[in-house]
């Protein structure tokens, strides 16, 4: 459908105003699932280009801005159709205010159809666990960019163990100083290097 392929192209180009205009035109005629499908396709294509180092973070960021602006337009239709979405709680850990990577993960997951509860930056362990419990989220994503705050990821997992709730959550970690070795060391379920590998991993979960 031309409108949907146009929308995907506009998202990739980071064209906020034109994307909004397009969605407003088609929202009552095309199923919201198909519109989300176009968003997903656009972000997946960018993801493939990102992996091949054909596009970089600035391109992802401006495309993510489009998705951020489109989501409020789509939300009422998503609710109306009662689409089933997995809940994901995500945030940058306490003491760290870096948000670019976390925001891109958040947007890519939204474009993939997840209900993302983004707690922002400088988020305490208690806030993560309370949000996950209240929202019925079984997936928790923890981001950090600093070696001085990466231990908070470890502390959150220790807290889950302490509460006897470790098995109830799939904990993903990310951020510049961490790695799959760090994930193994602290008992996280997975380390993801970028937004697209996070989406691929979550999509592969039962």
């Amino acid at each position: 459908m031309k409108e949907l392929s146009d929308l995907a192209e506009l998202i990739k180009q980071g064209e906020v105003a034109e994307s909004i205009e397009t969605v407003k035109k088609i929202i009552d005629e095309i199923a919201v699932e198909q519109i989300i499908g176009a968003m997903t396709a656009a972000m997946r294509e960018l993801g493939e280009q990102f992996e091949k180092k054909e596009v970089f973070i600035p391109e992802l960021l401006v495309a993510s801005d489009v998705i951020t602006e489109l989501m409020p337009l789509l939300e009422p239709y998503i609710l109306k159709r009662n689409m089933q979405r997995k809940n994901v709680v995500i945030g940058t850990v306490e003491g760290d205010i870096h948000e670019i990577g976390k925001n891109i993960v958040s947007i890519v997951l939204k474009a993939e159809g997840y209900n993302v509860i983004d707690l922002g930056t400088d988020v305490g362990i208690g806030q993560f666990l309370a949000a996950a419990s209240e929202q019925g989220a079984s997936i928790i994503g923890l981001s950090t960019l600093m070696t001085t705050t990466m231990h908070v990821q470890q502390d959150l997992i220790a807290e889950l163990v302490e509460r006897g709730e470790r098995d109830g959550y799939f904990v993903i970690i990310g951020g510049a100083p961490v790695s799959s070795r760090w994930a193994d060391r602290i008992g996280a379920d997975a380390y993801c290097a970028d937004a697209f590998s996070t989406a691929a991993l979550l999509n592969s979960l039962p």
């Binding site: 180092k53 973070i57 600035p58 205010i97 670019i100 001085t148 961490v178």
Partner: protein, 327 residues
């Protein structure tokens, strides 16, 4: 250039270490970042313990941003960070004043540390400075800076010119206070494409390298494999690369022209790894260093605060043994 190369090539092992000194001295990170005497005392403990060939000031990317007017969050045990970005748009640029390194923020503190290092250490003393794109990101927010790469080049150009002036003045003052080299930290530019890096970082790095009397080391964390050719064009006299970078390929691209620092994983290998992990990391690196005297064995970034000191001792001891050095 020949003289400079001789200085670099004596540097065989030089981990980026500053923060582990905080643990050694039993002080808080905040005390070290706010008091020159405390910071120097912590660095001296590292110096006395390891007799390194190079010492660096404590890595602190908030120094320049603060001097340029950013408000900081200053926790006791974590790195300082920018609480409020002072530049939202081109309008705000008019209110920015060029910082005076001898008066503004904590620049005078770092000048004192550089001076004390120069007088107290019998090794190369290097001082960290923020790179132009990194400082711009701290002043306007990383998101705004990265979006401006695509959406508002004119605003970004003006901001980068301001940052470059500030970095040059600060670097010159550090050199005047005895720093043998400046190490330019440009992590935020590490996520740009080669073309974006060239336009928004490299041209300004060239200005900085040309304006400062002492050699400059360009350090960018993360996977910078695609940026190596651009980093080499900045005229910095050395580059420092992180553990995700293929050192063999870097050395092939550098072809002996400048010094390369790197690239042991500071977190998983040195700080929290085992001696076997260190052995594994040194295996290829030492072999490359034997064949390339322009390779200085170093860490991919600064070591964490709670680095295992036994590991760090082992890294020095084993590197020296393998390279046939005695200390």
């Amino acid at each position: 250039m020949t003289g400079m190369n001789e200085i670099w090539r004596k540097l065989r092992i030089a981990p980026l270490m500053g923060l582990p000194g905080v643990g050694l001295s039993g002080t808080s990170l905040k005390q070290n970042l706010e008091n020159a005497d405390v910071q120097f005392a912590s660095l001296k403990m590292l110096y006395d313990r390891f007799a390194p060939e190079a010492m660096f000031t404590m890595m602190d990317l908030s120094v320049e941003a603060q001097a340029c007017g950013a408000q900081l969050s200053r926790p006791e045990t974590r790195a300082f960070s920018v609480k409020r970005h002072p530049v939202g748009s081109s309008e705000d640029l008019k209110d920015l004043r060029d910082p005076d390194p001898r008066a503004d923020g904590r620049m005078p503190l770092v000048l004192s540390v550089a001076q004390a290092m120069s007088e107290g250490f019998d090794c190369l003393s290097a001082a960290y400075v923020a790179g132009p794109f990194t400082l711009a990101s701290l002043l306007t927010g990383a998101g705004n800076a990265l979006r401006s790469v695509i959406r508002d080049q004119e605003f970004l150009r003006q901001l980068l010119q301001y940052c470059t002036r500030a970095i040059i003045r600060y670097s010159q003052a550090l050199a005047e206070h005895g720093a043998d080299a400046v190490c330019i930290l440009e992590p935020t530019a590490g996520i740009l494409s080669p073309g974006q890096f060239e336009k928004n970082s490299a041209v300004y790095l060239k200005e900085i390298a040309a304006a400062v009397a002492v050699p400059s080391i360009l350090h960018i964390c993360g996977d910078t494999n695609v940026l190596i050719p651009n980093m080499l064009e900045t005229n910095c006299s050395a580059i420092s690369v992180d553990w995700q970078v293929d050192m063999k390929q870097v050395l092939q691209q550098v072809r002996g022209r400048i010094q390369v620092f790197g690239n042991i994983d500071p977190v998983n290998v040195v700080a929290y790894g085992s001696v076997e992990d260190i052995d594994g990391a040194l295996l290829e690196l030492v072999s490359l260093a034997r064949d390339n005297d322009n390779l200085t064995i170093s860490t991919g970034c600064d070591l964490p605060l709670d680095t295992n000191m036994e590991n760090l001792s082992y890294l020095f001891r084993e590197s020296r043994r393998l390279l046939g050095q005695s200390r």
